[in-house]
């Protein structure tokens, strides 16, 4: 059996404010075109199944256009007789039980299996079982769903087993995207007895176990993905472990250029270097980031607006980032997990109390009230709607 493993389509993603002649966001259209191109390629390959490992949509309440694009392409796959297995990801799963998932619209389509109910669901396609665990509300829920799956697996035997999940494995945690609902997947989920493990969320193509891969996204979304090859994975489950072929779909349209060293350069000299770099690259339809390292404020202020305007007109998007010689590099700080807030508050109060800023008589009261309040807030945050902004 051969399957296509793809993920993180993020239909509905838009950026940069550039529009086509009909007023549609250019970046958004690019994502739709990339998705259609992917489906074209899949139909050409005619696999036995397609697995989408989460984040079909960029938003939990997608607009009509992404829904329509998705429906059109899904129907094409169904017409081609290719079964589709999809799970919801952190972007397109509602963070509240009260909201309805966009995938509800596609339930019941023949040959389409969608897991979006925050629980483990097995789907059988031919002799292969796809064990799907979609986005769950709490990180601890994955363990429970995984346990259910293992119990189910123990009762069945024979055939191929494919695990489909969405989240970031521990080994890649330092590359987290810091997006809403980003969950860590335990290394212990990567069991070697699966025929294949199809993962989504991480946008690069990466092998994380002998039998486990991230397919990566088809599109470029952030500059740190600029060096990645974008496409999907074509997996032959009849080999052990499944042999994986990377199928490239997109050309490298996102370019993160090496910084230009501007120490002691005048604005004219910097313009010359920018022009030369951009000419060599060819900006048309590209998304480019260029950092001007150690540039003086004076030189940066004097850069030709006309030149910059021309570059911006040619590229889909160009970011020119000055790194001033008199400014320290920005430090990245670790954002606080909301569930750690009560603990953090306790530490803070104990520190303050040690300094006697809080009278001993009310210290316990302050602590109890504050930690209780923060626990309730983080609880709400975990379950109420705090989905990606529209």
């Amino acid at each position: 059996m051969k399957i296509v493993h793809m993920a993180d389509s993020h239909l509905g993603f838009s950026a940069y404010g550039r529009v086509d002649r009909w007023g549609r966001n250019l970046r958004e259209e690019m994502v739709y075109q990339g998705f259609s191109k992917t489906v074209d390629k899949i139909i050409d390959l005619a696999p036995d199944a397609v697995v989408h490992a989460g984040d079909v949509f960029h938003h939990v309440r997608p607009r009509i256009r992404p829904l329509y694009v998705f429906q059109q392409n899904l129907e094409r796959l169904v017409e081609a007789g290719i079964p589709v297995v999809i799970i919801s990801g952190n972007h397109d799963a509602p963070k509240s039980y009260a909201s309805l998932s966009p995938f509800t619209l596609f339930e019941g389509m023949e040959g389409v299996h969608i897991a979006h109910h925050y629980r483990y669901e097995p789907f059988e396609v031919g002799e292969t079982t796809f064990h799907t665990i979609p986005f769950c509300l709490g990180p601890e829920d994955y363990l429970e769903e995984f346990r259910k799956m293992q119990e189910g697996r123990a009762e069945t035997s024979g055939g191929k087993d494919v695990l489909v999940m969405h989240g970031l494995v521990e080994a890649l945690w330092d590359r987290r995207l810091r997006t809403v609902g980003e969950h860590q997947l335990k290394e212990s989920f990567l069991k070697s007895d699966f025929s294949y493990i199809a993962l989504g969320h991480y946008h690069g193509q990466a092998q994380v176990a002998k039998n486990g891969w991230y397919s990566g996204s088809v599109e470029y979304f952030r500059f740190n993905e600029a060096k990645d090859e974008k496409g999907f994975l074509y997996v032959d489950l009849d080999t052990d472990p499944g042999s994986v072929k990377q199928i490239k779909i997109q050309d490298e349209y996102m370019i993160d250029l090496e910084p230009i060293d501007c120490i002691g350069l005048s604005s004219r000299e910097v313009e010359g270097l920018i022009g030369s770099v951009c000419d060599d690259l060819g900006l048309k339809d590209k998304i480019v980031r260029l950092r001007l390292s150690e540039i003086s404020r004076e030189a940066y202020r004097s850069l030709s607006r006309r030149l910059l305007g021309e570059l911006r007109g040619e590229a889909l998007h160009i970011e020119i980032i000055p790194e001033f010689s008199d400014e320290p590099a920005p430090r990245e700080t670790e954002p606080m997990e909301s569930r750690d807030l009560p603990q953090e508050f306790r530490k803070f109060i104990e520190g303050e109390a040690a300094g006697e800023a809080i009278p001993a008589a009310i210290r316990d009261g302050v602590l109890a009230y504050g930690t209780g309040l923060l626990a309730r807030i983080s609880e709400k945050r975990a379950t109420e709607r705090f989905d990606a902004a529209q």
Partner: protein
């Protein structure tokens, strides 16, 4: 055991009645075949339960010969000389038959019996533990005593209120309850200090005395701390017997502690254990193995050792293991002046290691995840029941190096997470000093603490551990040692005086322990929790936390 407890309880009743009048309980006397009798005396004339000698290092008092007194019991001595009163605490270290007669009195018939019952007694020898005084403000303070209680100060069994101060000096990792003789003081837990863990810990016991039970209780307490993000150190356990993860022979394992599963990560080579969602497949990347990891494993000749040391010079990068096994690699080594046979032996050994340690992989490694979890203060269990002893040592050595390197690096950068404690089973294999020892562990014992890395050495033969290394250990948990040489080695190396506890250590029963650690003022007798009971208690603790799981989703009606 039950009989012992019953007898101890009988004795408790009698101790309470010692207020100027000594009465022997009918049950107690019935046991020793005598008629019950009561001796009425005025308070000042009663010689029993009063300090009669000896010096600042040893107190003596006498008790009626039918009185049940046990080694290890803690007694309190109330001294009224001080204005607010001072209470001395002492631990019984010896018991002797004694009398007011000279010579062979016990075989001479006097009147209608062998002796006068009021002239024979037991002499109790007790070791001073310290003195509790009341300070201004009514607060009690326990300190080492620099004096001796007034002669004839009354002695009684220490009550839980008098031992309560111990609860305040205990640490955060609960392992058992305070024990007074063979009776437990349920109100006072015995808990080790997290802060002392990078100063190394030793767990010493002969087979069957409860080492594994102790380690499971210790690890469970660590899991509890880690789950609430309060842990101050990570704990690495490499388990060659596969008994910690799910237990064995009817015992429970660490993964049965569902309530605090968040506090542990498990890696295993056992397929049965790998079915559990919390258990990861153990893998080590080939590129993580260095020549020195191979070097520690076998008895190499000087030439072979020299060749191994040269490997990192001859081969660049992480591929040395594979490069060395090729004919080109062997030729390179021969070109360096090493004999063909020497290279052949090294190559064969490497092939054997790769063959026996199937967890060695080209692609993934569990080690970075393990170290991250240790730095985060979790318990990391490496379950390798399918591997042999040499493979276990190889893995332990490799892990220890990786941990020490990472901790050194992070310490240098000032960004180190929590300390860690590396557990070594049968530690005499690697901490013996001289031949057979592993320099890596010795260096951790000597300097690991600078970087926050401690050792937890478990052994049944402390006599085989290098004396100087053992003296680096600040926490001893002794669960019973029959061999005199073992006890002597511990007495020589402990930070607290254990010499007076020799007989007690010898007579410790299963599950009983002596815990000696710097932050607790004297070695405390403990009864280690039975893991299965402790597990049940911890699993019942608190609510499940959080919002309560809904378990999937059913869409609301249209």
């Amino acid at each position: 055991m039950a009989e012992m407890a019953e007898m101890a309880n009988l004795s408790d009743e009698r101790w309470k009645e010692n207020r100027g009048q000594q009465s022997a309980s009918p049950e107690g006397l019935a046991r020793i075949g005598q008629k019950p009798q009561t001796i009425t005396m005025d308070e000042s004339s009663n010689p029993y339960f009063r300090i009669i000698s000896k010096d600042v290092r040893e107190y003596h008092f006498i008790v009626p010969s039918e009185e049940w007194v046990e080694l290890g019991e803690i007694v309190s001595i109330h001294d009224r000389r001080v204005e607010r009163g001072a209470t001395f605490l002492a631990r019984i270290t010896d018991l002797r038959h004694d009398s007011n007669y000279d010579g062979n009195w016990d075989t001479v018939i006097r009147g209608d019996g062998f002796y006068d019952s009021d002239q024979i007694f037991c002499r109790v020898v007790a070791e001073p533990l310290g003195c509790m005084t009341k300070e201004a403000g009514g607060r009690e303070r326990f300190r080492k005593s620099r004096t001796i209680p007034a002669k004839f100060s009354p002695v009684r069994k220490a009550e839980k209120e008098e031992l309560r101060f111990l609860g305040e000096v205990m640490g955060d990792i609960e392992v058992g309850r305070l024990r007074n003789g063979s009776r437990d003081v349920k109100e006072i837990p015995v808990a080790l200090h997290s802060d002392a863990m990078d100063h190394h810990m030793g767990v010493f016991a002969t087979t069957g005395m409860g080492k594994s039970n102790f380690m499971k209780v210790f690890a469970a307490s660590c899991m509890r701390m880690a789950s609430s993000k309060e842990s101050k150190f990570g704990l690495l356990i490499v388990d060659p017997h596969g008994e910690y993860i799910f237990g064995s022979k009817g015992t429970k394992g660490l993964l049965h502690l569902d309530r605090y599963r968040e506090g542990i990560v498990c890696y295993s080579t056992d397929k049965r254990h790998l079915k559990d969602p919390s258990v990861s497949n153990l893998t080590v990347k080939r590129s993580e193995i260095l020549p020195q990891d191979i070097e520690v494993l076998y008895d190499w000749t000087p030439a072979q050792r020299e060749a191994l040391e040269a490997v990192s010079r001859v081969f660049y990068g992480e591929e040395w293991l594979d490069d060395l096994l090729t004919s080109e690699g062997a030729a390179k080594m021969i070109a360096e002046g090493f004999h063909e046979k020497t290279i052949g032996r090294i190559g064969r050994t490497i092939r054997t290691i790769l063959d026996k340690n199937r967890y060695i992989s080209d692609l993934t490694s569990s080690i970075p995840g393990m170290v991250n979890n240790l730095l985060a203060g979790k318990v990391v269990l490496v379950d390798i029941p399918t591997l042999g002893e040499r493979s276990e040592l190889f893995l332990l050595s490799l892990l220890s190096r990786s941990i020490l390197d990472r901790y050194k690096k992070e310490s240098a950068e000032g960004s180190r997470g929590k300390s860690c404690l590396i557990t070594i089973e049968e530690a005499q294999r690697v901490l013996g000093g001289g031949e057979g020892s592993l320099a890596r562990f010795e260096s951790i014992a000597r300097e690991g603490r600078k970087f926050g890395v401690g050792l937890c050495a478990i052994t049944q033969q402390p006599k085989l551990i290098n004396k100087q290394l053992l003296s680096q250990f600040n926490t001893f948990v002794i669960l019973g040692l029959a061999d005199r040489n073992d006890r002597t080695r511990l007495e020589e190396s402990a930070k607290q005086d254990l010499s007076t506890l020799d007989v007690e250590i010898q007579t410790l029963e299963k599950g009983e322990a002596i815990v000696s650690t710097l932050k607790i003022p004297f070695p405390v007798p403990a009864r280690v929790h039975l893991y299965e009971e402790y597990l049940e208690r911890l699993n019942r603790e608190g609510s499940s936390g959080g919002r309560g799981r809904i378990g999937g989703f059913s869409p609301p009606p249209d």
